[in-house]
Symmetry: C2
Subunit: 238 residues, 2 copies
Amino acid sequence: MFCRIERDDMTVPDSVFENLCELISSGTLEAGQRLPSERQLASLLGVSRPSIREALRTLDTLGLTQTRLGSGSYLRENVASLSHYFVRRQTAKAYELGELLEARISLECEVVAFAAARVDAEGKEALKTLLEHQEEMEDASGFLKADFAFHELIARISSNFFLLEMLKTVRELMLEVNMDVIKRPGQRLVALRHHHRIYEAICEQDPGKARRAMLKHLESIFGGKKPRRPAASSKKTG
Amino acid sequence: MFCRIERDDMTVPDSVFENLCELISSGTLEAGQRLPSERQLASLLGVSRPSIREALRTLDTLGLTQTRLGSGSYLRENVASLSHYFVRRQTAKAYELGELLEARISLECEVVAFAAARVDAEGKEALKTLLEHQEEMEDASGFLKADFAFHELIARISSNFFLLEMLKTVRELMLEVNMDVIKRPGQRLVALRHHHRIYEAICEQDPGKARRAMLKHLESIFGGKKPRRPAASSKKTG
DNA sequence: CAATCCAATCTGGTCTGACCAGTTTGGCTC
DNA sequence: GAGCCAAACTGGTCAGACCAGATTGGATTG
């Protein structure tokens, strides 16, 4: 199961890191599962504990694992998210809300267009199920969760995992704002209606329509907060 | 200059990390500059060397610093780039070229539209200078560099640093492909002509035109390689 | 005097072994 | 059977040592 791969140009912790990455990507370790203890890993890989710790630190920094004192290192459920990276980096650089919003709108519109072009029967069915599920949500938190799921599913249907990750990152960075927005009275009904329009456009496999529906959705939701957005669609002239 | 900040819920390396981040973001340390040695830092902050090493490892992982054996840890010039993060993570997850290409096209088109809407006289002047500089480039490597600079300047003019970072990441991940493409005969002249069109559209502050010019540019450049792109612009119907 | 070379001394890389502080676990008590 | 407590885990931190690559400055040499 474990074997130490040695490359000349690589430090010991780096090679340990690669070993662990392989274990993760190969599926030997499953989401949420605990990794062997530092001492066990050190013994198994034939290196010292500090080297293991540095490798684990890298995994932690990249958001692949989470380490709990006295308990162990656990594989994160959501390996794909970039947010940890950004959160850590915010110390060095913070993004303005306006930028995030703009980025989100840009990405969502692109992604939904791809989704509309690539959706299949299964995808339509899944979207419909999610939509019905969201309608039943009573509390703001549950609604927001369903909202995330809806947007994420669209991104998955788009089949572009790079855009998916970017979008996920933006959304997670905007978590608080989303929570504020969703609590506004009447907001949920509006959001649901918009989601239905987006869903319909995707079902009709009409990228342009889907894009416009998404744009309208996001602009209406964040309308009160937008500080600037002079060129959202492609036909305006500054 | 240095002081150890202690928070209960934070580990020693984490607090060291924050300290160093502050030094970086405050500008006390400049790009390219060498950090104090591990032993010095340990002594200054009153912690052990392993703790310092873990903090430095985090900085390295985040791409903020670069550590050279026997020499020291240096602040990276390009602190904002995400690419290191991705490169490291590729061990756990790799993106397909098609996805990257798609993401790049999406992002570039959005960004250039914003740039066209927000450009000022200074920005136009800078673009022109870059363009003239690129025309003088003889070798493929230099041309590619100038190409990067042109696209990056557009992203900067767009004033959205989040999109800028994403785009930068995509571009760096596609570095090899770009190199291959730029070596094709006649490719450079075509690229230059397209760049001129984009430049003109930005100068006219016409986001739609800029977007179309950019789309044409990228699709023509990567045309031979594109595996899929059914919904690039906003008016097509799948 | 200038260029060269080499050794002292920096730097990071790694290991050992120890101790502290939380968490988990299993057996003991009630 | 439920609750509790201690032993045996786990990660967190430290000290000190040694190796290997990089740097530097003085001694050597042209």
